[in-house]
Amino acid sequence: MSLLYDLLAAPFVDFAFMRRALVACAALAVGCGPVGVLLLLRRMSLVGDSMSHAVLPGAAIGFVISGLSLVSMSIGGFVAGLLVALASGVVTRVTQLREDASFAAFYLISIALGVLIVSTRGSNVDLMHVLFGTILAVDNHSLLLVSAIATISIAVLAVIYRPLIVECFDPAFLRSVGGHGASYHILFLVLVVLNLVAGFQALGTLMAVGLMMLPAAAARFWSAEVWALAAVSAAIALVSGYVGLLVSFHFDLPSGPAIVLTAGVIYLVSLAVGRKGSLRQNLIARPHYES
């Protein structure tokens, strides 16, 4: 019993930084879980990745203007991400270029701009390290920011849930009943950017997307209802955060990758033995259905 306590609870009881990290993971899970699922359903799984790079120039400008300020870097990152999202959306709707291509174009421009701004600052401060903090160093401000973003995400999603889902599956129907598909889409992109800004506070850009997409992809093997997908995805993200932090604690490994790799393992397990369309069902169960 005490062994179990030492293994699973003691790290969080003994150390405040572990508790903060866990709370940050929980907030990220609540926000990123549903957003990841909707990205997945809208076939925009890779958009999260490009958006995470798109926030770089904004965060860099924030850093150049007011130094290491959480507020200005977050606002900068948010504005830059939003500009890329909106520009891509507009280009997709008014030209023949598909969404993935316009996202790729704008995020590549954005990341080059970011690297340029960082290097022309003269000083060679390792900005990537400074900007993209580790989950072990989450301070009160970051925690508030991440929790606020999670709250806003859930509230906004609750309001736009139905039209957004309808637009996912049947955009023509939404238009025919007079829904404004485009505005919901844009609102959703705002949420994506917000959650990425929250994620890079805590995990760094690469890792933030990991906690957004891997749980969503894993959830797909367990559930078919959208609300259930979102719940399962948030739960998987939370479990990944908890287990990843424990792994980082007990095996002396960097925490960001430990968390995302835990989510990766859960994805692989779901892929193999999940209840909906997993390998197990497709490879083993099929003869049973055919007979």
Binding site: V125, H129, S255
Partner: protein, 299 residues
């Protein structure tokens, strides 16, 4: 080998006449130093006879530097290039090759008794030798010899400047020892975000503990943080320090968790910009030592 390079020199000398004349008109020996602290030492030894270009400027990180074309141009045009050595400037060899520079590369850290530091379980050479002022005097001797070889006419001037500067460094060394004399042996412990103080600690009898390894790129593990917090609590460490380029958030977290205070800025790998608190090699010690002393005494 010797004869061939001599012949080579005779043959290409006329081709070099124009640039040589240009540099003679300027009157100064063009030297490049890899990072700000070395640049300051070279300037002190070279005085008016040299024009120093520093590649990694104030507050820059020499471990992860990305050279620009302007840097390559400065290296190509240099008469002597100075590096610290001991594995600090991993990018330097590539830069020298790509710039086409063929002159002498002087290693300032030659002859220093190197320390190894523990990085992820394997020992690597600790490059931060300048943090021991006695090594600073070895740097000065190496630099004076390299400058004299490149500019024999100035050999006397370099020797004079080097011995004066060396005496200043020796005096600073004495001062550091005197400052730290009163700190009881049980309290000689410091936490900082970057373990660049291995030589300093060994020279002046202080133990430095750090959450991250030698490189500023390393991401900490939860286990490493926990170990350090336990250690800080059990040994009663009261102050932790930001290093002038690593993540301050990490140090702030450590400090609040262990009930310690965050100390001022220590300079270890880079100088501050001119006018700052540590804009020269010797002023770096003026900045660091009193802060370290106050921290250890629990003030």
């Amino acid at each position: 080998m010797h004869r061939r390079s001599f012949l080579h020199g005779v043959l290409i000398a006329p081709l070099l006449l124009v640039p040589v004349a240009a540099s003679a008109a300027d009157g100064k020996l063009k030297v490049v130093a890899s990072f700000s602290i070395l640049g300051d030492i070279v300037q002190n030894v070279g005085g008016d006879r040299v024009a120093v270009t520093t590649l990694v400027g104030p507050d820059g990180d020499a471990h992860v530097f990305e050279p620009t074309p302007a840097d390559a141009k400065a290296v190509a045009a240099a008469d002597v290039v100075f590096v610290n050595g001991l594995g600090l400037e991993g990018w330097m060899e590539r830069l020298i090759q790509s710039s086409g520079y063929r002159g002498p590369v002087a290693v300032a850290g030659n002859g220093v008794t190197s320390r190894t530091m523990d990085e992820a379980g394997s020992g690597i050479t600790d490059p931060h030798a300048w943090q021991d002022l006695r090594n600073g005097r070895i740097y000065v001797a190496n630099i004076a010899a390299a400058l004299a070889a490149a500019d024999p006419q100035g050999a006397g001037a370099y020797r004079t400047a080097a011995s004066a500067y060396s005496a200043e460094i020796a005096a600073k060394d004495e001062w550091v020892r005197a400052e730290l004399k009163d700190v009881p042996s049980g309290q000689r412990r410091i936490i900082t975000s970057h373990d660049a103080f291995g030589y300093f600690g060994a020279a002046y009898g202080i133990t430095f503990l750090a959450p991250v390894g030698v490189s500023t790129e390393a991401e900490p593990s939860a286990a490493g943080m926990a170990r350090l917090i336990r250690q800080m609590k059990s040994e009663g460490v009261k102050v932790v320090f930001f290093e002038n380029m690593t993540s301050p958030k990490l140090v702030a977290t450590l400090a609040s968790e262990a009930g310690a205070r965050v100390g001022g800025t220590l300079y270890s790998d880079a100088l501050s910009p001119p006018g700052g608190p540590a804009d020269s090699y010797l002023r770096m010690f003026d900045n660091n030592v009193p802060q370290l002393k106050a921290a250890m005494l629990g003030m």
